[in-house]
């Protein structure tokens, strides 16, 4: 256990320079982008109704008249304290905008991600029992198709069929899941169904493919023959030993797919007008709200790195061999 603890500590220490690098990278980006960096930081400051005092305070706060290196230090220390800039279009600090929108995104992503991991892995493992069978090739074909369909287009098609055609579900109009404007639970679930289904359908094929490939691989290992020879039933070998070993690549893929999930979320939220981080990104692009775009980038990168970290740690729990690396 000591080894595991040391491993976790090491992984956390390794994540810190990565986060620093992301922040510096972001800083560099808006300095080498065409035009005046100040104009990015202050984008939207011309919008009517903003107190000039605020604008001046912001300029001072970010040290925009100081030398570059000093600006970087100011920027870094700001981000570390949770200050991601100020959105003049929304007249709010960026961090506040982001935090308001996170719950909705989580509500959208988490259930569909969990469902696609569990369902996809089980289907994949089942198919691995008889590779090349009719069922296997049918499901594989379907998953290849789903994998190739643009996620937002799938969303749009579902909208056309279920919302505009059959009028079973609302097309948009989801309000915040929390706070004073929150709707009823049934209303929320109705709104949640189509976007979640879209995400689920685009994510599930990847887990089917991963689990299928790794279970097939593992079913060829010598130790599987040992357990078959031992008189274990085929399903026991499959689920107790093969799947347990095949979970390792699945966990890795789940971590790597986070980017995929986020991409899906951004697009799906846009399609269904879901009031989460993705929709906010879309609006920020539309309004060229650069502080918000940059803030979302830094925020999502940090989240991403943290989740990668968690995935690595889960991996270490699942695989006794890792700790001694």
């Amino acid at each position: 256990m000591n080894g595991l603890r040391r491993y976790i500590a090491r992984r956390i220490l390794e994540a810190i320079p990565l986060i620093f690098a992301i922040i510096v990278f972001n800083f560099v980006i808006f300095h080498i982008a065409p035009g005046d960096p100040t104009s990015y930081m202050m984008a939207g400051s011309g919008v009517a109704g903003i107190d000039p005092v605020v604008i001046e305070a912001m300029k001072k706060r970010w040290g925009l008249d100081k030398p570059l290196l000093e600006q970087l230090v100011v920027y870094l220390s700001g981000v570390i304290r949770g200050d991601l800039g100020y959105s003049f279009f929304r007249n709010k600090p960026v961090s506040e905008v982001i935090l308001e929108r996170v719950p909705a995104t989580l509500l959208l992503i988490l259930p569909s991600a969990c469902a696609s991991i569990v369902v996809g892995t089980l289907i994949g493992a089942y198919l691995a029992k008889r590779p090349g069978s009719k069922l296997d090739s049918t499901v594989s074909t379907f998953s290849s198709i789903l994998y190739s369909v643009p996620v937002f287009w799938l969303g749009l098609i579902l909208l056309i069929i279920f919302a505009f055609g059959l009028k079973l579900f609302p097309s948009s109009g989801m309000v915040s899941p929390i706070g004073e404007y929150a709707g009823s639970v049934t209303d929320m679930l109705q709104h949640l169904f189509l976007p979640s289904l879209t995400l689920f359908l685009t994510d599930v094929p990847i887990f089917i493919r991963t689990a299928r490939a790794s279970v097939i691989e593992i079913m060829r290992e010598d130790f599987i023959t040992t357990f078959k020879a031992m008189g274990l039933k085929e399903n026991a070998v499959l689920y107790k030993h093969a799947l347990r070993n095949a979970l390792l690549p699945t966990v890795t893929i789940a971590g790597m797919l986070l980017g995929f999930l986020l991409t899906g979320a951004v697009l799906v939220e846009t399609v269904f007008g879901w009031p989460g981080l993705g929709r906010t990104t879309y609006e920020a692009i539309y309004m060229r709200d650069y502080p918000l775009i940059m803030g979302i980038f830094v925020f999502s990168s940090i989240v991403f790195i943290s989740i990668t970290l968690v995935v690595d740690i889960v991996y270490a729990f699942l695989d006794p061999r890792v700790k001694y690396r």
Binding site: L18, A21, I22, N26, I29, F30, A33, P34, Y40, R130, P131, G132, S137, S140, T141, S144, I145, Y147, S148, V149, P150, V151, F152, W153, L156, I157, L159, I160, F164, S171, A213, I216, E217, R220, M256, L258, G259, L262, T263, V266, L267, T270, V271, T281, Y282, I285, Y286, R288, Y290, I293, M294, I296, F297, S300, S301, F304, I305, T308
Partner: protein, 281 residues
């Protein structure tokens, strides 16, 4: 000798029906892209019919808000999507192979550093990176293509690196070094040719991924508005989704089919190289 190899490969490849179907799809779209000027019934930029008219004999896929023929636009868009996919994957492939193979072969600090760099790129959520860069630097299609290519190469570099590391210790590579062959010769004559197949399979899948990414970026309003790409048609089309479904369905279908084609080819190459995955038919 090379021809014989290709023939051998084809004999194995064609046993996979889905892979052959994928190849057929890609060839079909390639022909459309090449012949686009000859098979488009109308100029994709000009008004030909009443706005938002549904599919008819005159306009197979209907018309858009400005009364342009969607069928012609989808055909024309094939070119843009093809170039985008191939271009981005080529950039990614070249960088991935070179930066994956050479440092891994020579080892040392450069290899360590580069591994860190692409691990770094791999932990950045790609979509937000693309949004950030394209929003700030402009959305010209070639620029987006380059940026998409630049975000994809680490995946290939990682595969290439693993291949080089495993092949480097193979006896025939060691024998080549022992014979006195230079590093470059060993790398290009023995290691890369023997290890590149999974990279090629993944480049093919990345073509599909790039096409999907272009569509996604267009959909977020970061597309090149001067181009008739499938993503652009879809983006402007979906604004009228409730009243004119054909503006959404057809370009999306085209994207899906072409991406499917490349994905199936990539899978097919992987299966051909690694026949374990099919087995016992």
């Amino acid at each position: 000798m090379v021809l014989a190899k290709i023939r051998m490969f084809w004999l194995e490849y064609r046993r996979d029906r889905m892979a052959v179907f994928g190849l057929a799809l890609v060839v079909f779209f390639a022909f459309i892209a090449i012949l686009a000027p000859f098979i488009t019934p109308y100029d994709p930029w000009s008004f030909v019919s009443q706005a938002l008219s549904p599919p008819s004999q005159k306009n197979l896929f209907g018309t858009d808000k400005l009364g342009r023929d969607v069928f012609s636009r989808v055909i024309w868009g094939t070119r843009v999507s093809f170039i985008f996919g191939l271009g981005a994957a080529t950039i990614s492939g070249l960088i991935g192979i070179i930066l994956g193979a050479i440092p891994a072969y020579y080892g040392g600090w450069l290899d360590d550093l580069l591994s860190r760099i692409y691990e770094f790129i791999l932990v950045i959520p790609t979509i937000f990176l693309l949004i950030l860069i394209i929003a700030m630097f402009g959305s010209s299609i070639y620029f987006s293509m380059a940026v998409v290519g630049l975000t994809m190469w680490p995946y290939l570099a990682r595969i290439m690196r693993a291949q080089v590391l495993s092949l480097k210790s193979k006896a025939y590579v060691q024998a080549s070094i022992g014979l006195g062959a230079s590093g470059i010769r060993t790398l290009f004559k023995h290691i890369i040719p023997n290890g590149i197949q999974p990279v090629i399979a993944n480049i093919t899948i990345q073509i599909a991924y790039a096409i999907l990414t272009e569509a996604g970026l267009s959909f977020l309003g970061l597309g090149d508005t001067t181009q008739v790409s499938w993503g652009q048609i879809l983006y402007w089309g979906h604004l009228h989704i409730a009243s004119a479904w054909w503006n959404t369905v057809f370009p999306g279908l085209a994207i899906a089919l072409l991406a499917l084609g490349f994905t199936l080819i990539g899978d097919g190459i992987n299966n051909t190289l690694n026949p374990k995955m099919r087995e016992s038919r």
